[in-house]
């Protein structure tokens, strides 16, 4: 991937050229301290690097505790990285000037996991929409505001009246759509959807995913889609044109690939396990193997070697001693010794063959 450093211009999205990096995560780490007194330090995010291009959908996949929420907080500016830096449109976010900060909070919009805590229960929903319009200089006249609101409501397929209503008057799925509508109103370049459909009933998720995919195609809107559910991720990849998937485990990237490659040809043992763990809707296709049970999360964070070695069915001696590098394999990159040219993996490969 060629990274271009471009001359910064925080102007309207459409003026930024195609195929340029909207968001660059460069060697970002975040250290936390666990426990009150004799706590240990652990890296919730450990030397993570990836790029998100304009109009691209990046899927960030991993189980809870893998660092994806910390990463989204780092991007949104809620937390500051312990090392490394995050660049938005080529500029380092922690060094933003005042006006750049203001542009950032308009252009990068969050969609949160819990619809019911996204909006203040004491405030009318339309208040948020009005505020977005007036605060970001989109329009001030009342009639134009109403028109804009109707436009975005249309885009998220909400046809009920929202004037004067409060959060609890809507269902979870409706609130998520309203949350997307509110974000759309700001005319963003990037949506950060943090487990946006996880708390929505399984049967209603597809509607929201359709909306996000349509918006990506129509408006060239980049989306950082964080999820633990690979079937949801696969659906987004299937519908969209330019996607990239990144799998995280305990703070590190274990696999990344473009398009459907990761789903159809998973390389890392963890990715395989994730795909296997998707419950099938066909009662005849049940899970076969039982899993190795996990040790404490904290212990895994501080492992010397590969963080997945305690759970990996193919773990070799080197896996416990040294953390693997990111190896390039065809369309993907994998952090696993099984894909290194120099390591003797005969035992492990036998196990792999038996499994398949």
């Amino acid at each position: 991937m060629i990274m271009k450093l471009n001359v910064i211009c925080m102007s309207h999205t459409k003026e930024v050229k195609e195929m340029e990096n909207l968001l660059e995560i460069i060697n970002v780490s975040k250290q936390f301290r666990s426990g009150l007194y004799l706590g240990t330090n652990f890296k919730a995010v450990d030397n993570v690097s990836f790029n998100l291009e304009n109009g691209e959908i990046l899927l960030l996949v991993g189980e809870s505790g893998c660092g994806k929420t910390t990463l989204s907080n780092l991007i949104l500016g809620i937390l500051k990285p312990s090392s490394g830096f995050i660049k938005y449109k080529g500029k380092i976010t922690s060094k933003f000037r005042r006006n750049e900060k203001r542009s950032f909070i308009r252009e990068v919009q969050p969609i949160f996991q819990d619809p019911y805590s996204t909006f203040n229960p004491f405030v009318r929903i339309d208040y948020y929409f009005e505020e977005v319009c007036s605060n970001f200089g989109i329009t001030r006249s009342k009639s134009e505001i109403e028109q804009k609101i109707n436009e975005v409501l249309n885009q998220v397929k909400i046809d009920t009246e929202i004037k004067g209503k409060f959060v609890h008057q809507f269902s979870g799925g409706q609130i998520q759509r309203l949350s997307i509508a509110r974000a759309l109103l700001a005319n963003p370049s990037l949506l950060i959807a943090d487990e946006a459909v996880t708390m929505i009933d399984a049967s209603l998720r597809v509607g929201i995913l359709n909306i996000l995919s349509d918006l990506n195609k129509l408006l060239n809107l980049a989306i950082l889609f964080i999820t633990h559910d690979l079937s949801v991720g696969y659906y987004m990849v299937e519908l969209s044109e330019r996607t990239k998937t990144v799998v995280m485990y305990r703070g590190t990237i274990v696999e990344e690939a473009t398009g459907e490659n990761l789903f159809l040809n998973p390389l890392h043992p963890y990715t395989r396990q994730l795909i296997e763990s998707v419950p099938s809707v066909d009662p005849n296709k049940k899970w076969h193997s039982a899993m190795k049970h996990a040790v404490l999360e904290l212990e895994e964070f501080n492992l010397k070697g590969c963080k997945y070695s305690k759970r990996c069915p193919f773990a070799m001696k080197i896996c416990e001693e040294k953390e693997p590098n990111l190896f390039s394999v065809e369309h993907s990159r994998v952090r696993c010794w099984l894909y290194s040219d120099t390591v003797d993996k005969s035992i492990a490969l036998n196990k792999l063959k038996k499994n398949q």
Binding site: I78, P110, F112, F122, Y127, E131, V132, F136, A186
Partner: protein, 301 residues
Amino acid sequence: MRNSFLDNISDLLLNYPSFTFGIIVLIILLLLGFGISNFAPSSDLLWGMGNAPYSIPPTFNYPFGTTTNGQSIFWLLTIAIKNSMILGFLTGAISVAIATIMGFLAGRFSNGILGDLLNMIIDSFCVIPGLPVLLVLAFALKGYITVVTISLILSIFGWAWPSKQMRTMVMNLNQKQFIMTSKFSGLSTWEMFLHDYLPYILPWLLIQFLGLVNWAIGMEVTIAIFGITNLSIPTIGTSIYWAYTYQTLLLGQWWWMTFTLILTIFLMLSIYNVSISISSYLNPRTRLIRIQKSVILGESK
């Protein structure tokens, strides 16, 4: 607010007996203090010599009896209530205002330099021993003491602990998701304070305010008993001071001290009851349930 102010008041009156009791007594005392006191004869406006017979027990003309110097305790106490209430509410208002500003800013910007600085200031004021410093200040300003100056002096220490609590509450609220939504909707800090933080801190603010009122009234009594105040202005504190100094209880003249204390107790009780009932009413959880109920009832019609 969806419900009108009158709806809220009638709701409170009907469902919270402590509110009803408190507000009625408070209104009576307010009438006494701010209405009836205006009719006090000129002889009974300040502690001093009066025209009435000395030290007589309650009669029709002198409902609370008279002082050792021939003043009607009734009129003096109405003025005392007025002054004490002014003092109390003023202290409460100033303290809460400072506490809110300092506490909110310290909490909202707690991960920056401003937050750390403000936190240091708040902690310093919490730790300074209040009473000795107050007494010294009162003594130093002896010539300039009025109800207003006492309020200002008391406010210097009244704001510190509430401010610390406010900071903790604000830091808690910072974690809420909708604060982020407001931030990314472009709301300014002031607008977020009004819409996002205030509904959650309002009940607490009211309790603090009314608690400070009572505290201020009590502190004024303390300062007065030490004699370090303008002893000619009728307040609850000075009334107790003079009743004590003239040894009225020892001489069997129970009426002066007793009526002062009865009025004080009613004043503090009524303020307390109003504060707990309003804050219970405004508690975010009960408020939400009320809003939801009214919406469902409205929708089902």
